[in-house]
């Protein structure tokens, strides 16, 4: 609980208008930030002396339940003080663009490529935004809910036996 307050007070000083929510989920303080300010917030969290979130644990994408928005989730870590927080930012699926975090943490490079590969999120300023895990010729973004898991071009599977 204290970590939530510490980070929240610091963020409110500079970005009060952009924080959409700040809550404690299980054991993580979670902040939802406006998409346009996410880069400044990340930079502030990394460079502030007391907060010092120098380690990017994870960067992943998600699609909201109503399938109209995409989101990017950041997990940050301050190792000397053992602070861990989560940041989320959401944006419309028709215009999925967010600023990149590679200038802050080089580790974000491949993580953002993976998010682009799976969800189609374009990261502005990314040095090399191409597909990383799927074949280069793929033109869909497979993790979106609208696309099925199985390969639809198979003709040797008889689904009448198993209800799918």
């Amino acid at each position: 609980m204290e970590l939530l307050e510490i980070v929240n007070t610091k963020l409110q000083e500079h970005f009060a208008a952009d924080i959409e929510s700040a809550e404690m989920l299980y054991d993580y303080p979670v902040f939802t930030i406006q998409k346009d300010k996410i880069h400044e917030v990340l930079k502030f969290l990394k460079e502030d002396e007391t907060l010092n979130f120098h380690f990017l644990t994870d960067l992943c994408g998600m699609q909201t339940a109503d399938e109209k928005q995409l989101g990017v989730i950041y997990h940050l870590h301050n190792m000397p003080k053992n602070y861990r927080i989560r940041l989320k930012t959401f944006f419309d699926i028709s215009k999925p663009e967010v600023a990149t975090a590679t200038d802050l943490w080089p580790a974000a490079n491949w993580m953002e490529r993976e998010t682009y590969d799976f969800f189609g999120v374009r990261f502005k300023g990314h040095p090399n935004l191409k597909r990383i895990l799927n074949v280069d010729e793929m033109d869909i973004f497979p993790m979106r809910k609208e696309y099925p898991l199985e390969d639809q071009t198979r003709d040797d599977k008889n689904d009448s036996m198993f209800g799918r």
Partner: protein
């Protein structure tokens, strides 16, 4: 462009240009343990630039996990870092237990610790012996792989499988371990130190091995942190970050162990960190056996813990519960949770978003290999090809974890 003044002509421009040859360290290569490709721009024997391509074994785990109920996701987690599958399984169980808010009895947690440390030893056996093979020392591999067979026997007694174990349950273990299991573990604890000592004597202070691996592919602590290195690779660079110490889970705070840390982050440091971690794992297992508390082997989670098999075969209610749990027809709370465990390669994280349905809404695996392999082109700039191969094998890149 250098303007060179020679006695024969004035203002003669000498353009220094190097011609680089391209070498494809292709997806199928004996030395890359796993399939990933590196297109190298070489200046003779020195590497100028490396462009990695991965995804040759992308099996769509995250999309597959959205289709499977919670009890059926464990086989997928097995195949992430398949050299140490039990750690992945336990990480998944702990994530679900965190979501449910379940408290696991100490006895089950100590058993989990034993399994996880055994699989950590198994993972480091593979990595270290393969570093030896890449320097040409095949003997170490043959000698120490015997001990991996002994660990397989222990896993087989508990869960029936050798490699992709699917071990345990959400909530603990299904039953007490048999006497044969404990005998095998005791024999292993008595005999393995001799085997590890033999392997150490072959390689640790071997002049040829040290000449090959010292200063080979070093990485500084700042660069390692900025590339989000974790695990033995980060500890070799000098940062003592171990999830078991920083965010203890499954009663790791009850055990005393040291976290080995290197200085330079080169191949020799990574090798030695893993060697010392194996000794520490042995000590943790001994402590767990000595301090084993009494109690039940599983938490009281009737909606998630499969009922015992004798009841499933004889009792109607147990059969229905078994079916419901495996098919995911139980009530799952909504929420999102992130849990990390110290895998063979470092912080393996599970980010689970549940919307109350029978399958996860979103499950993301924070795979350490995928994240730290990005630094490989930086690490091999300017070193020779054979050193680059050693760097890759000492980073313990497992293709299953790289691509998921």
């Amino acid at each position: 462009m250098n303007k060179k003044e020679t006695p024969y002509s004035i203002n003669q421009e000498v353009i220094e240009e190097k011609e680089y040859s391209t070498l494809n360290l292709g997806p199928t290569h004996p030395a890359t343990h796993g399939i990933f490709q590196n297109v190298l721009k070489m200046d003779g024997e020195i590497i100028h630039e490396a462009t990695p391509t991965i995804g040759y074994i992308h099996r769509a785990f995250e999309k597959l996990a959205e289709r499977r109920p919670y009890a059926q996701i464990t086989p997928i987690t097995d195949r992430l870092n398949y050299c140490s599958s039990p750690i992945n399984n336990m990480g998944w169980y702990m994530t679900v237990e965190k979501l449910l808010g379940a408290k696991i009895p100490k006895r089950a947690e100590y058993h989990r610790v034993i399994i996880m440390e055994l699989s950590r030893i198994a993972d480091h056996i593979i990595c270290n012996s393969v570093i030896g093979v890449d320097t040409g020392a095949m003997t170490g591999f043959l000698y120490i792989f015997q001990w991996r067979e002994k660990i397989y026997e222990i896993f087989e007694e508990i869960c029936g499988a050798r490699l992709t174990t699917n071990i345990g349950r959400i909530g603990g273990f299904d039953k007490e371990w048999s006497k044969k299991t404990w005998d095998l573990i005791d024999t292993f604890l008595k005999e393995y130190p001799k085997g590890l000592k033999e392997f150490s004597n072959l390689l640790e202070r071997n002049k040829i091995f040290m000449d090959r691996t010292v200063n080979c592919g070093p990485i500084s602590a700042e660069m390692a942190l900025s590339y989000s290195f974790v695990g033995p690779n980060l500890r070799a660079a000098g940062i003592d970050y171990d999830v078991r110490v920083m965010n203890p889970y499954s009663s790791y705070e009850d055990f005393e162990f040291t976290v080995p840390v290197g200085t330079q982050g080169d191949t020799y440091d990574r090798f030695m960190v893993r060697q010392h971690e194996m000794w520490q794992s042995l000590s943790i297992i001994e402590q767990a056996i000595k301090k084993m508390p009494e109690g039940p082997m599983h938490a009281d989670l009737p909606d998630f813990f499969l009922p015992p098999k004798e009841q499933v075969y004889n009792n109607m209610e147990a059969l229905i519960y078994h079916f419901k749990i495996v098919m995911g027809e139980t009530d799952i709370p909504k929420g999102e949770v992130y849990h990390c465990v110290e895998g063979g390669n470092g912080e393996l994280g599970f980010y689970l978003i549940s919307d109350g349905g029978r399958t996860p809404f979103r499950l993301h695996f924070r795979r350490p290999c995928f994240i730290y392999y990005q630094a490989y082109p930086e690490m091999v700039k300017g070193i020779m090809l054979s050193d680059a191969i050693l760097t890759m094998s000492s980073m313990n890149v497992i293709a299953g974890e790289l691509d998921a």
